[in-house]
Symmetry: C2
Subunit: 202 residues, 2 copies
């Protein structure tokens, strides 16, 4: 019987391979065969660790979400206690945009899962809403911190706007629309329009 650490490592090897298959060929390219080939292991071993395709797709989705979450948490910790709400929101949004290879691949994989929901071959359904919901809560909290005098309902609606705009922006960038510079300019413009001050009290 393999040790738990080996078990986890092997599962990780398989979900990493599934992730690469999705980046290269979309969700429809994922089969026991393609993932086994990408991981350099046998089809039987993939089947041993994940009984069904749905199971390893869910595990892949979860592993990409966890990796993104961990990167997020590091970025958040790096911000320190003195960060302004605007800097905090800007950091979070920047982390979501496909500005380097890692974030691009992440956006492609999560986008593929989201798109599968649209065409009725959804794997993760409700799971894919967890991230936007968490983003909206986080942004709304920062907006309330930035503009304590504003109506609280405005923070929620503003945060939803932010989530929609950044979702659309990420999607556009993946398709080749715009540049990193124009994307960041758009994020700043959005924060200006939401009257998020550059400094506390300013």
């Amino acid at each position: 019987m393999p040790r738990l650490a080996d078990h986890e490592q092997r599962r990780r090897q398989i979900t990493d391979a599934a992730r690469r298959v999705i980046v290269d060929g979309g969700l429809e390219a994922v089969t026991f065969q393609t993932v086994a080939a990408a991981a350099g292991i046998s089809v039987r071993l993939v089947q041993y660790y994940f009984g069904t395709k749905r199971e390893f797709l869910l595990a892949t989705h979860r592993s990409v979400m966890e990796a993104a979450g961990a990167r997020f948490a590091r970025r958040w910790a790096d911000l320190g206690a003195d960060v302004t709400p605007r800097e905090a929101v800007r950091a979070v949004l920047t982390e979501l945009l496909p500005l380097d290879q890692e974030r691009r691949e992440e956006a492609i994989v999560l986008g593929a899962f989201g798109w599968a929901n649209v065409t009725g071959r959804g794997i993760a359904a409700e799971e894919t809403f967890a991230a936007p919901r968490a983003l909206i809560t986080l942004v709304a909290d920062q907006l309330r911190r930035a503009r304590p005098a504003a109506a609280s309902g405005d923070a929620e609606l503003d945060a939803e706007l932010v989530a929609m705009a950044v979702g659309g922006l990420a999607q556009g960038m993946l398709q080749g629309y715009g540049t990193a510079q124009s994307a960041l300019a758009l994020v700043d413009h959005l924060l200006d329009r939401l009257a998020v001050p550059k400094n506390f009290g300013g």
Copy 2:
């Protein structure tokens, strides 16, 4: 030799069938066989009208864009001359959201083409940028009309924000996020945040 009208009608029959195949199974479901079956004609006939798969995918993309463009033009004409810029922008954005079956199917098909660009199996590439570019120009024009005193560059950036937000909103709705009512509330909130007055001069 078939008359031109018959020829056009037949091509339309085929691109309509391709559209239905995409709505049901995504772009990867499209083959000469599936489209012929959906159109109720022979594979040979599809091949006679469209030599390659790429050709009829392009024709399908174009036919969906044309149908959307025609619906847009009708909506625009219905607005009349006295329409405020805000009403005009609101009408255009509403027309883009998947609020009924027709617009939902349109958004799915155009989304499928856009997504294919991301995963490198793009069919329409530059063609898929035509619609967002046209939208940005139209919205920027209306924003300038609504806020003649504002800096002109702001209208461009605001229009890009609108396009991104509505793109993200449409994508979210397709995945089952939110309701028609919450989507329209978000559009209104966006126009408020861009300081688009409800009336001329106010």
